[in-house]
Symmetry: C2
Subunit: 305 residues, 2 copies
Amino acid sequence: MNDLSRVDPRHLDLLRELADRGTVTAVAQATHRTPSAVSQQLRTAQRELGGVPLVEPHGRGLRLTEAGRLLADGGRELSRTVAQVQARWDEFMGSASGTVRVATLPSAATVLLPGVLERLASTGVKLECTDLDIAESEYSGMVADHDIVIGHSFTGPVPAGAEHLVTAALLREPLDIALRAGHPLAAKPQVTARDLVAYEWYGVPLGYPFDGLRIAVETAAGRPVRVAQRLRDNRLIEALVAASDRVAVLPRYSTAPGAGLMLRPVHGMDAARWIVAILRPDHAERLAVRTALEAFQAVGREVVG
Amino acid sequence: MNDLSRVDPRHLDLLRELADRGTVTAVAQATHRTPSAVSQQLRTAQRELGGVPLVEPHGRGLRLTEAGRLLADGGRELSRTVAQVQARWDEFMGSASGTVRVATLPSAATVLLPGVLERLASTGVKLECTDLDIAESEYSGMVADHDIVIGHSFTGPVPAGAEHLVTAALLREPLDIALRAGHPLAAKPQVTARDLVAYEWYGVPLGYPFDGLRIAVETAAGRPVRVAQRLRDNRLIEALVAASDRVAVLPRYSTAPGAGLMLRPVHGMDAARWIVAILRPDHAERLAVRTALEAFQAVGREVVG
DNA sequence: GCATCCTTGTAGGCTGGCTACATGAATGAC
DNA sequence: GTCATTCATGTAGCCAGCCTACAAGGATGC
């Protein structure tokens, strides 16, 4: 019985992939095969493991059984081990070379990427960057196809939904109030909630995390503010703020200084977002990835310091 | 460059096997293939890793280069990880079942095997035992084809030549002096070096570890003893000792009590051998193997206690 | 009820990895 | 020095495993 259920690295890897991506079709795409091929692999894996069901139908797709999850977890450890060996090999070959795939929030990239690219220019590490607006819940999806995902978290340095993932805080970025140069409030080094409710705001769509500071201001001042527009793009908001007396919430470091704009902290409020890097444990082992991550962290420290 | 040298679990496993067994032919035998097939695998591994030589000719055979050793070490970790997953799977399937291959020193088996077999009778674990006279230097060779190798060590609980191996001390077995019942020295609870040099000895061939006690006795007494015969088999020595006034060194627990024979410790000397189990790390992960090892350890404690 | 999205099954093709056999190099006995 | 032995390796050819292409069937949501 024991001899009939021999665990095979290939099958562990398949189940890990399935656990990460959720559907046979997604796995097939990621591994450059047809769904049929993946389905057949799954069937042989099940057969070789003594016929215990590893997946079960669920809706249109399928999900892992407990047995399947067990093996998928094993697959995670396995790929981590292989990646460690790969890292040592790369090191031995004297090369932190290779391409690191980065997916990043545009605003975080504004702050960090220039410095990171400069630091990596002298190494063999190449970055392949994609900028995406990533919701906090989508991080675990992105890490399947990118080595480093740069996102933000408003609850703390560890974002939600990162159970199996490696996370690294890069930067704690305070949220400030943006004012045009020459704005009546610009004379004060800090603004208060009471100051702010006197002006109209440019906000973000309801439910967007930046909105938390607006709500905090309303709570502190005891009355709501008037939101003129609800917009997403920070550069657009900057332009609008610079052209009126309206105010907006903007992150401190990602907002271009000058250009007729000033930032002021809100007195007594310590609102901030954490810029974090999220990685799959196996990807995190690669030497090139570690090098890139260290560059991001170093630049993050520079920005704060 | 990095993309051209991707580490593959299959190749790591091959190199680990080669590191363990030393020759392509031995690997081929162990994996039920022809040497040609193994040689080809080796070549493709080398090609896929960027053409760096992993092996180099050495005498009639070949040996690993530094690069090869690096990857072989990685292969060890890999097989350990896979074995851990396999163990969890077995556990999940509710079975500590399977066959455990044991190679053991006959004298150690005499003491331990009866109890171990009894303990394992109620489980699904089967033992497949081989008895071999194993020199301390051959342990690492034996573990390739056996899950548990029982050997002895005279230097301490960890035998020499077990760098990559898991070891477990089962039993510290004192070395005593065997006398026939009714022997002049049998009246004393302990014998001294001075007592012993008065009698002829049955010894072991020069260089055999038991000879250490004889040498210690000679040193303590200040003069050599006369060795009548140099023999290997303990049962034979027992029979000869029982039939004369000659004495011999025999291990305390593995020597059958009664039958006209008595054992006496040598005063002031604490000679002993360690009965140890030696395992390959990956084999040590298997649930059935762990169960069997625990049985050996428990019986060892019983014998001493 | 229809369009969509998913998985699964079948038939057939391709290729990677194997065997069989031959060759060549290093070693050690005589 | 010669010869037998013991390794590794190269070549040709075979076969199983894995993949694709295509079709079909179940679940979901408008």
